[in-house]
């Protein structure tokens, strides 16, 4: 440790603060102006500004007479005194001293002496401030020799100057006196605390006894400070038991420990020690530089020496950090030569300052420039070579491409990462990391619309070739499964979600993987495996899980393999009989079985099923006995057992408290069982004779029952105008639940007016159901009011989120998907969840929408029905299975889950903003236009497609085939009939281009109700 001159700084509580001293003078002039005017000077002990402060300025205190005025004879002297103090205030200490000398020479009074001492004090302060410490000390000694009575006032300054000139003796000698008064001792210790920098000088100060605690402490601190700043110091070195916490040197102890932690990398502990250092002490003056070192920043207000300290400790790391910041800023600008210059400079600095991160830095720069579409050569030049293509690089690249939105490419890169990572030993081929990666890739692929995924699978080979040129063409793109000489042998498993799930399931024992796999196969209909097969694998892998058994039962039920389905349900019941889904499954299966037998007009078999149904406790819940009775009624009708049918009818009437509800239920069940008879026609005619109140009561009773047993509710078309008028008048005291039920029931039959009025009454009421009413209002609006409809959905979503109604949020998402899929503005790239995110509303917008909807009581006019917008556009009337929806041109299996949302718009690569602005603008501008231009698929084509699909991907070649087809699929027959009806009403003949002999299916004759001869087929 070098030995700098022993210096002390001491004074007004904060070291020798000459500026503060001058300030005191200024304040003094203001406060005691009148007293100074008298020329009388008195000594005032200024209270210390901080602990142990020892400022003792003299205050001129005028010799006021009883009146407080200076004597008239001393007028000139008083003026001179004022001038002296003004000069001191202005900082002209030299001029003040000259005048004070003159004054004292003339007056030679106590007052003039005091003024002279004031002037001397100011002069000494000024000299010290200019580093003229020797001169200041000499002047102080001179003043003390001439005016010993001023020793008290000059004591503090004398000690300061002693410290500055290295006169340690003058500073610490008083401490050797055992009789030193406590006040003076505090002053001395304060001076040491604030001013002492050179511990070695204090340790060797001879004026203190050798075993004086201050000397031993200073010696220990000097050793420890040298040790801790020169090399890694152990705990024993910095323990410093010699320094008590009451010692004026205690702050040094904290500083030494802070520096030790700093070099050990214990930043938090370092900050804690820094916080315990008195900021006014000498060690406190390096606290800010240490904090700058911790933050690796030189932004703080430091002195030149402080900056130098930070730079010397951190080395060029600070420069590297600054360069990295500059490069980050450059990446936000358009690529230019400046960017390449920054890259080159940063690379060089990194090589010098922190070579450990050079490889990573180059890889990050490489990816950033790739995504910014920078030319290759300048980047390689700036980087000083090519980047290393290790697992880290591929992972980074895959993430970047994923964020960009090119999901199939991202999967390809993830596969590349997987291979390299396994080669590098980052994880094993059978590790959990691999399973996670497979699931992540599958998750990405699920976001791609199926048709685009197919294209991606086809184009993959081309993409592989493309990627070989990414900044490193030294090595070819060594796809692991590329068989030499045969590109066709590529295993593109990474582009097939079902294969990814299969691999993940093999690596990780997790039933949720099977569930995701099953859900995917169910919605996306992949080529490899059917949902049932996945469920089978699921059940094999997790024999204790009831869920796959239910799925298997459902699949078997669809195949009409009821016994097999029942076996699965039995197994599921053994595993999880408490699960409501399991408990309900048997009931649903038996209902389906009964309906099936009734459809096949096999009442005896249906009776057996109903007997089994009767044994179930679930069949006795709510209004289900009435439904079971309705099935039994159809059986009786099929057997022509009139008396039994009447008995059952009466029983149902009793159960449902009314004939209308009973008739509704019977007709609903009959339609489900495709049972048509004179009795059903009679019931249908008879239903139209009832009043609105009875109808509403029946709907409120039967609709929930039909929803419960999963059949469609029969609502006669003639009820629509009745209910519309009825709701138009008032809400008839229906509660919120009743309004919701009525509106839902109306929407299932396409009665949007009824739903509109019902939702309007619901909106007038506040409560948690408001979100549902808004959703209903949106659904009740015609397609021409698309914007208003979406506003309602947005408001409903916002309200649903606030009341945590996640089911409703999912329903809205489904509705949005149907909107985009079935209406004119089909956009396969837009996911429903994206829409929900975009539709986030502020409070004021939410209030506005609700108020608008409340005010708008009049139902909007229905748009004129276009021929293309025939009944088929009502999604409620259409089959919603994936096959049918795909045949109608709807998007299936895309964006149905939260995880399926595309992040293209929300997570852009940084450079994307400027590179792809045009692209996105173009997309955003073109989107509505494209939607407007895109016509809906004509329903005839949809029907044709459906007919072809149902007849085994071929056209029915004869009328007999078509008859058989329509008999097997009565829903299809109804659609054809409705279409022809509508065409007839609107004067459009869809077969006008055909001659009489060109109607190979005989559709006109069969369904247009204009049979050329003979009765038409009974319309179901």
């Amino acid at each position: 440790m070098s030995e700098p001159p022993v210096r002390f700084a001491m004074g007004c509580g904060m070291g020798v603060n000459w500026a503060a001293l001058r300030e005191d003078w200024h304040k003094m002039g203001g406060r005691d102006k009148d007293r100074r005017a008298t020329g009388r000077i008195e000594t005032v002990q200024e209270p210390a500004r901080s602990q142990g402060g020892s400022v003792v300025p003299l205050r001129p205190c005028g010799g006021l007479g009883p009146t407080g005025q200076a004597p008239a004879s001393d007028g000139r002297a008083a003026a001179l005194i004022r001038e002296i103090h003004l000069a001191i205030e202005r900082g002209s200490s030299k001029a003040a001293l000259e005048k004070a000398k003159l004054l004292h020479k003339e007056l030679a009074s106590e007052e003039s002496k005091s003024v002279l001492i004031d002037a001397y004090l100011a002069r000494i302060a000024a000299m010290s401030a200019k580093d003229l410490t020797e001169e200041a000390k000499a002047l102080t000694d001179l003043v003390l020799s001439r005016f010993p009575e001023a020793a008290d006032r000059l004591g503090g300054i004398q000690r300061n100057l002693a410290a500055l000139t290295g006169d340690m003796a003058a500073l610490v000698t008083p401490l050797a006196d055992p009789n030193l008064i406590p006040e003076r001792r505090r002053e001395c210790e304060q001076a040491i605390r604030h001013g002492l920098v050179d511990m070695q000088a204090l340790a060797t100060c001879s004026t203190l006894p050798e075993d004086h605690p201050l000397r031993t402490a200073a010696a220990a601190i000097a050793r420890a400070f040298w040790a801790v700043t020169s090399a890694e110091a152990d705990d024993a070195t910095v323990a410093l038991p010699e320094v008590s916490h009451r010692s004026p040197l205690a702050d040094w102890k904290h500083l030494i420990r802070a520096i030790q932690c700093l070099y050990r990398g214990q930043d938090e502990a370092c900050r804690r020690f820094l916080a315990s250092i008195n900021p006014d002490s000498a060690p406190g003056r390096v606290a800010d530089p240490i904090r700058s070192i911790l933050a690796e920043s030189t932004d703080a207000q430091l002195t030149q020496a402080g900056h130098a300290l930070v730079h010397r400790v951190l080395g060029p790391r600070v420069e590297l950090r600054n360069a990295l910041r500059a490069l980050d800023a450059a990446f936000t600008q358009k690529p230019s030569r400046e960017l390449y210059r920054q890259i080159r400079q940063t690379t060089l600095v990194c090589e010098r300052a922190c070579p450990q991160i050079l490889k990573r830095l180059k890889q990050h720069i490489s990816i950033k420039t790739t995504m910014a579409d920078c030319p290759v050569e300048p980047v390689i030049d700036a980087l000083g070579g090519r980047t290393v293509h290790d697992a880290y690089f591929w992972r980074l690249f895959a993430r970047a491409v994923e964020d960009f939105g090119d999901l199939s490419q991202a999967c390809l890169l993830w596969d590349r990462f997987r291979n390299v990572a396994i080669q590098e030993g980052l994880f094993t081929a059978i590790g959990q990391e691999n399973a996670f990666l497979y699931l992540h890739m599958a998750d990405l692929l699920k976001r791609i619309p199926p048709e685009h995924l197919f294209e991606a699978q086809e184009d993959c080979r081309y993409d592989l070739e493309n990627l070989e040129g990414v900044y490193d063409d030294r090595e070819p793109f060594p796809h692991s499964r590329r068989t030499p000489g045969s590109c066709s042998e590529l295993d593109l498993y990474f582009l097939y979600p079902e294969r990814l799930y299969e691999r993940a399931a093999a690596l990780r024992s997790d039933a949720n993987i099977y569930k995701e796999w099953f859900d995917y196969t169910k919605t996306a209909n992949p080529r490899d495996l059917k949902p049932e097969e996945v469920a089978q694998k699921w059940a094999s892998a997790f024999p204790q899980d009831a869920r796959p058994l239910l799925h298997l039962a459902e699949a078997a039920e669809h195949r009409s393999a009821f016994d097999k389905a029942l076996k699965f349900i039995q197994q599921a019941e053994e595993l999880g009989g408490i699960d409501p889904k399991v408990r309900r499954a048997r009931f649903q299966l038996l209902v389906a079985k009964t309906v099936r037998h009734l459809k096949q007009e096999k009442p005896s078999l249906a009776a057996k099923d109903i007997e089994q149904l009767d044994l179930l406790s679930q069949a006795k819940e709510k209004d289900r006995p009435a439904f079971v009775a309705s099935l039994r009624w159809i059986g009786a009708m099929l057997e022509n057992d009139r008396s039994e049918a009447e008995r059952l009818h009466g029983q149902i009437q009793d159960s449902l408290d009314g004939p209308v509800a009973a008739a509704m239920l019977l007709l609903s069940a009959a339609r489900q069982c495709q049972h048509v008879s004179a009795e059903t026609n009679r019931l249908q005619m008879w239903l139209t004779t009832y009043k609105e109140e009875d109808i509403v009561a029946a709907v409120l009773r039967v609709y929930p029952l039909c929803v419960d047993v999963e059949i469609r509710t029969f609502l006669p078309a003639k009820w629509e105008p009745l209910l519309t008028k009825w709701f138009k008048r008032s809400d008839r005291d229906l509660d919120a639940k009743g309004l919701l039920t009525m509106a839902e029931a109306a929407l299932t039959s396409g009665w949007q007016d009824v739903a509109y009025y019902a939702s309007g009454y619901g909106l007038q009421r506040s409560g948690p159901e408001q979100a549902r009413f808004l959703f209903l209002r949106g659904r009740s609006l015609p397609y021409t009011l698309d914007e208003r409809r979406r506003e309602c959905f947005a408001a409903a979503t916002e309200l649903a989120k606030r009341v945590r109604d996640t089911d409703l949020v999912v329903e809205i998402a489904d509705a949005l998907r149907q909107d985009t899929g079935t209406w004119g503005g089909s956009d396969p790239f837009r996911s429903d969840w994206d829409d929900l995110d975009v539709m986030a509303l502020e409070d004021k917008d939410l209030r506005r929408i609700i108020e608008d909807e409340r005010r708008t009581k009049k139902c909007p006019k229905k748009p004129p029905r276009r021929f293309f917008d025939a009944g088929g556009s009502r999604t409620e009337d259409l089959c919603q299975c994936p096959d049918c929806r795909r045949a109608r041109g709807e998007t299936v299996g895309y964006g149905t889950s939260r995880r399926g949302r595309s992040r293209r718009k929300t997570r852009r690569a940084p450079a994307e903003d400027y590179l792809f602005d045009d692209l996105f603008e173009e997309e955003e501008e073109e989107e509505p236009q494209a939607r407007a231009k895109m016509p809906a698929i004509p329903p005839e084509l949809l029907l044709l497609g459906e007919i072809i699909r149902l007849s085994g991907n071929k056209l029915p070649t004869s009328k007999k085939d078509l008859d058989r087809l329509l008999l097997q699929h009565p829903e299809l027959a109804i659609k054809v009939a409705e279409l022809l009806d509508r065409a007839q009403k609107e004067g459009v003949d869809p077969f006008s281009e055909f001659g009489p002999d060109d109607d190979p299916w005989g559709a006109r004759g069969e369904f247009s109700r204009r049979p050329p001869g003979g009765p038409g087929r009974k319309r179901r």
Binding site: T229, A282, R285, V286, L309, D328, C354, K368, H440
Partner: protein, 107 residues
């Protein structure tokens, strides 16, 4: 705790390479906990514990390994995982800073 400490990867907090297996991770965790006991450096201990929580489960570790790196992160954050190099420069620069700061205060 400052921003930089938050950005450190769990591997760098525990001082193990990304390919470290379960045993290595546990050993590193115990070593670090001894270095930073909770009574002396609570925040650092918390960081270590969080890092260990993230790495001890292979599946969570996989998540971190695969999704941890973000291409759009600031380049400056690369420094956080780099070993810190603070140079020993002896006492003179420190003492000079104390003296110069004192003069600044006086002025």
């Amino acid at each position: 705790m400052n921003r930089t400490e938050n950005q450190r990867s769990p591997w760098s907090i525990l001082g193990v390479p990304p390919e470290a297996d379960d045993e290595q991770i546990r050993a590193a965790y115990l070593r670090k906990v001894k270095e930073h006991p909770p009574d002396r450096s609570a925040a650092e201990f918390e960081n270590i514990r969080d890092a260990y929580d993230q790495l001890k489960d292979p599946y969570r570790r996989a998540r971190h390994l695969i999704l941890g790196a973000t291409p759009d992160m600031p380049l400056e954050s690369l420094l956080e995982d780099a070993p810190r190099s603070r140079r020993f420069i002896g006492p003179d620069a420190w003492l000079a800073t104390m003296k110069s700061e004192r003069k600044e205060t006086q002025k």
